[in-house]
Symmetry: none
Subunit: 129 residues, 4 copies
DNA sequence: GTGGTCTAGACCACA
DNA sequence: GTGGTCTAGACCACG
């Protein structure tokens, strides 16, 4: 599983990491129950600080995406997660902002569908992991 | 036009303000070419810092939603705005994150459609502005 | 409100801090809605690192004891907190360990009651805060 | 005597083991003077690391619960143990934390009594050891 | 080996 | 001014 971080992006590194990991899970490059690289090794590999990786992992545990064992983190084996109330509220707000921007900037249904399809193509299971 | 700010929300106040204004434009409570309240008066009315209002206005000008005149700000009279490249990229990222979260948290198409409809209902033109 | 930290204790500093703050709330030295010192100032006052204070505050927010505003932390104004399931389970385990130790070390009911009373005396509202 | 370890619990394995053994003594499944399984065999039986069992045994010796012989460990034949000063201090702190949490989270006397009774029921002597 | 805790210090976002 | 993010590096607990 490849993880690419853009150090100069506006989105915090730990957020980028969170979505890269979720991405890996969706693409089945990371399977339920599978262990993740240790905070230190991953940090070393992608050239960021250990604490940043740790924060991402911890937040994913809080969301229910990862689970923490005595020894390291793993993908939650029971991936039937539900959003909690707070997260759902947040999701709605983000959706609302997208819809507002679409209207203000006259994005057509088609162009949005196109983007959406392009994105979903990148989320498909790859044959070789 | 009513502007409601939640001071203790996680979303920064200037962001909330930006979307409230966009919202007003979509609902035609603010018309193209119409002037906005002065930074100072708006800040006073809704009880927030002057700099915060200023930041929101400036960013809206950057996006092309507002125009800055000699004296004050107005809604861009030519509301055929296109997103610039940077904003479009940002939009795509936000959409991507929503799609990823939907898949990870097993949101159904239905529940998303429902949310979407509810939101769009709040964006309809109101009879009295 | 006085906060005393024992740097060489086995209990982590942030845990000590958490209980000191809860203590302050119980003794009504900290009232619902009241603001807490900034992470940096408190850290400076008691001679520990900012991040340690921050961790304690964050955990207290998670427990529902504190609330976080745009600007700083405050005691949750609606202090009708309930333990969540996980915390309740943890509480039960801690109680179980105490009961087991009491039996193994032949602590009498009286001596426990005595300790308990002594502790509760230190938790009473003080006249001057 | 059954020992059940939850490898993914938050409480360290050696702590769990300590309380399982104390539990066995209270339930008279382990009698004063009785020998304990060897470090190696117990570790093998419950599938944990040898060092972990050893740590638990050593700590129990320190507390006076177990005694170490030439060959192996046994339950202290003189089970009229008293807590040493350090342990008593620790006990008091743990009690204090429980009392503080009970007040902060509005636990009723009843619910605590209920928990307490449930726990004590699990500590009764069983007919067959 | 793993994560947890703590420190010191930097720069940024927000109001 | 506030907290948020990120870094670098140390020592400890656990298994």
């Amino acid at each position: 599983m490849y993880i690419r971080i853009q150090p100069n992006s506006e989105t915090p590194i730990y957020t980028q990491l969170i979505y890269q990991i979720k991405r890996g899970i969706i693409k089945k490059e990371l399977l339920p129950g599978e262990g993740l690289p240790s905070v230190r090794s991953l940090a070393g590999d992608i050239g960021i600080n250990m604490h940043t990786v740790n924060k991402a992992y911890k937040l994913l545990v809080e969301e229910g995406v990862l689970a923490q064992q005595k020894k390291g983190f793993m993908v939650n084996p029971n991936l039937m997660i539900e959003m909690n109330q707070k997260y759902l509220h947040n999701y709605r707000e983000r959706l609302e902002e997208l819809l507002i921007d679409a209207k203000i900037f006259n994005l057509t249904e088609e162009s949005i569908s196109k983007m959406r399809n392009e994105i979903e193509n990148t989320l498909k299971e790859s044959d070789k992991s």
